[in-house]
């Protein structure tokens, strides 16, 4: 535990030093990165010990804050979230030193300070065991990330994104305050340890659960509450986006799990709610991702999708708990936790890759790129691996966790009654749709950005990412492969203790992770077979082509010589059939100047897909409230006589009301 505090201190110190030398950006970057690495190294030790060994140690001491008590603890669940936090923040920090290399001015140092603050906030969130401390950490995390989002504040869009994020997170926090205060009223203490599951009426428990879903879901990006995500992630610098999308939104999942472990045995409808949220987030998330024109926006929506998958896992876990089906519960929770880890890896990788593209070609607008695979091959490979992983395709890590959700659903299907069966069938179908759409979405991204011919001169002059950036991406790429291949063993070793912490929720169900790891062994065998065959084929191909003529030529384009880049299929045209198929949900807006004359002059076509909930729900609601409020503004009309009249009337009313 002391080590955790030490690592937090180190990271924070690094941030402070960076702030101190803010006048010299390079030095600031290095200092902050060093702090991040050292702190993570220190923190990983206890975190891993907690995850693997299931140790639990705590520090509790009184604190000079009314209501507050300084109580931190590190159990397996905290550790499981702590590991990706520490790893990804360190990696992203290294990446950031290079990524912000060209920026000048003090804002670099300031941003590093907030980066460190964000890291410390996330660490504090997962170890806090006192409601006030938790809220402090939570808001520190949110505010730090807000300042990071506002890094490039000269752009209006960035400011709007920052505002959206700030408002969303604040509203979420309001829900959390209500939640914690209710729990405190129930148990007479703000200390998590006193929140034993006993003694909550089911109504109160459900209310708390709903508040938790609202509050934590806002951070995690559950579908109706996700609106800040596609705004904030593109606005932030890429290494920050990686951290936010990779680990920060997961703190929402952590909070939900923590609360689930505290409010006692769940009724089945919680599971259904979570699964419904998961399905909507997953399917809509990937659909909107498919329709985006900006790479980072696309990735942000895909984060919503992955959060949806995690929510499905949680829902299945809750459902299994409620129906006393240990296999389903174990598999569901395991899938959720495992996907948390995997998503951190590959989404981090993808955002870093997007950053490299932005760095190299100066834009993330997909249709202005192309052919980067031959200009930055290493980045291209890394991104391709990330894409395969995020699509949940074997043999990479993304598949393993989606696979767990699948077999959790299958088990539910095999065992459960009609309702459970229907739910799980919905999960299976939903996951299948998500898988198909994800392939469409990421082939579009990879294909348009890295393959084919460059569409603009910037893309043409793109350069390979520097050593540091590439190294961090390579690290994550290797991690994706290794975690994917080693998953059976890793899961068996690492998920047992966290699930045991969650066990209060699965009412003491027996946990046997074999139900997860033995099928995964089969998956790994298949993967091994696949890789073996592939290698054989590679050799075979080399033998066959040996000594035969291998010539280069232009792309065969049905008679056209030299197809120009303008003739390529764009990402929009690639996605058009699906977007058109789901236009009811996506509501694409197109602004086109069609070709009219015989000898066509300039024409253009532009399509845009706004967010369903922002455009149809949030924005109109805000507008309505604003109208109502502005209609009330006449109160302050500036005539002093009327002001005195207010006094007179108040006086009269009070006297008549209270004395009458």
């Amino acid at each position: 535990m002391q080590l955790i505090l030490a690592s937090t201190a180190i990271i924070f110190l690094g941030g402070l030093l960076a702030l101190a030398v803010a006048s010299r950006p390079r030095a600031a970057s290095v200092l902050a990165a060093v702090g991040a690495i050292a702190g993570s190294a220190v923190g990983l030790v206890p975190a891993l010990r907690a995850v693997l060994g299931g140790t639990h140690d705590a520090i509790a001491c009184p604190w000079g804050l009314p209501l507050g008590e300084f109580h931190v603890a590190l159990d397996a669940l905290s550790g499981l979230f702590l590991v990706p936090i520490l790893v990804l923040t360190a990696v992203a920090a290294v990446y950031g030193t290079r990524y912000l290399g060209h920026d000048t001015g003090p804002r670099v140092g300031v941003s590093w300070f907030f980066y460190s603050l964000l890291t410390c906030g996330m660490i504090a969130v997962v170890v806090a065991r006192d409601a006030v401390l938790f809220l402090l950490a939570w808001e520190t995390m949110s505010l730090a990330s807000f300042f990071l989002v506002a890094y490039d504040d000269r752009r209006e869009s960035v400011r709007h994104a920052a505002w959206t994020y700030l408002v969303a997170t604040h509203i979420g926090t309001a829900a959390l305050i209500a939640l914690f205060v209710l729990m405190a009223r129930q148990h007479g203490s703000l200390d998590f340890d006193h929140w034993n599951a006993g003694g909550m009426t089911s109504a109160l428990a459900s209310l708390c659960f709903l508040l938790a879903v609202a509050g934590f879901g806002t951070k995690a990006g559950f579908m109706p509450l996700h609106v800040w995500l596609p705004e904030a992630h593109p606005a932030a610098p890429s290494h920050v986006s990686a951290v936010m999308s990779g680990v920060m939104i997961k703190t929402g999942i952590y909070g939900l799990l923590r609360i689930l472990s505290l409010i006692g045995p769940p009724p089945a409808w919680w599971g259904w709610l979570l699964i419904a949220i998961g399905l909507s987030s997953g399917i809509l998330g990937i659909l909107f991702a498919l329709a985006q024109h900006d790479l980072k926006r696309l990735l942000a929506y895909s984060s919503v999708e992955n959060i949806g998958i995690i929510a499905m896992g949680l829902g299945l876990g809750v459902l299994g708990t409620a129906y006393a089906a240990p296999t389903v519960a174990t598999l569901g929770y395991a899938a959720a936790l495992w996907h948390v880890l995997n998503h951190a890896l590959f989404k981090g990788l993808l955002f870093l890759g997007a950053g490299a593209v932005l760095h190299a070609a100066g834009t993330t607008r997909i249709d202005r790129l192309g052919g980067l695979a031959r200009r930055m091959p290493r980045t291209a490979m890394a991104f391709l691996f990330g894409a395969v992983a995020v699509c949940g395709l074997p043999p990479l890590n993304g598949f393993t966790s989606e696979f767990l959700v699948f077999i959790a659903a299958l088990n539910g299907m095999l065992s459960g009654d009609l309702l459970v069966g229907a739910t799980t069938a919905a999960v299976i179908a939903g996951l299948a749709v998500i898988g198909g759409l994800a392939v469409a979405c990421f082939t579009k991204a990879c294909g348009t950005i890295f393959l084919g011919e460059p569409r603009t001169s910037e893309a043409d002059e793109a350069h390979e990412a520097g050593g540091t950036m590439w190294a961090t991406m390579a690290l994550l790429m290797v991690a994706c492969v290794v975690v994917g291949v080693a998953s059976p063993w890793l899961i068996g070793r690492s998920l047992a203790s966290p699930l045991a912490v969650l066990c209060p929720a699965p009412a003491g169900l027996p946990i046997d992770l074999n139900v997860a790891s033995s099928p995964l062994t089969g998956v790994v065998l298949a993967a091994a077979a696949f890789i073996g065959i592939a290698l054989i084929l590679v050799l075979l191909r080399r033998r066959l082509l040996a000594g035969r003529s291998v010539t280069q030529s232009g792309t065969w384009d049905c008679g056209y010589q030299r197809p120009t880049a303008r003739m390529q299929y764009t990402s929009s045209s690639f996605a058009q059939p699906l977007v058109d198929l789901f236009r009811g949900l996506l509501r694409p807006r197109r602004d086109a100047a069609p070709i009219v004359e015989l000898f066509p002059t300039a024409a253009h076509l532009q399509t845009h897909v706004g967010d369903l909930f922002t455009d149809r729900l949030i924005a109109p609601a805000f507008r309505r409230v604003r109208e109502v409020l502005s209609r009330l503004r006449w109160i302050q009309h500036g005539r002093v006589q009327w002001y005195v009249l207010y006094i007179a009337l108040t006086l009269l009313v009070l006297l008549v009301w209270k004395l009458g």
């Binding site: 302050q636 009309h637 002093v640 006589q641 009327w642 005195v644 009249l645 009269l652 006297l655 004395l659």
Partner: protein, 215 residues
Amino acid sequence: MDFWVNCLVVLIAMTNLRLLGSSRVVSCVHTVAFQGVLLGVLAIVGASGGLAAHGIVLAAVNIVLKGLVFPWLLMRALRETHLRREVEPAIGFGASMLLGVLLIGICLWIGSRLPLPVGVQASPLLVPAALFTLMVGLFMIVAGRKALTQVVGYLSIENGITAFGLGFALKEALLVELGILLDAFMAVFVMGIIIFHISREFDHIDAGELSALKD
């Protein structure tokens, strides 16, 4: 002696009606001054147990301040601001009278809801009368067009409250009452200054025009 107190109280109430009715700033000022004098008398009469020094001092200060100083200040302000003598009331004579009657009704009702505790010997009319004066003052501020009218209204409020205090011959410490009077004096004084500035900056003292600050 209660008889005299009652008479004074009724007189004060009548002056209020005059305030409501009158359409000239000057007469308003005079009426308020007259109220002040009445209050001084009330202080002497109301002082139960004969003429205590306490009562005399208060009476003197009242008569001097409210009967002489304030009118003088206000007239001076009138002269400086070249105010056209006529106020064009926002609420006409008839309406004002009706409202006055209504206010009297309300005040009487409130008075009836506030039974005097035993041990307080005073005219039962005093509560309504004081409240009425207060309300009339408020009414003048609300209805008045000129900043000056509002000062007069403020004075009338002040009078109503003082009437209350004096009429009950409350054993309030002399120091406090003097402080109160001093404050009232300062208030009027500062208001006068401000009005003077207003007339200089805006070339008028139409309170209605002073509405640049709003949302």
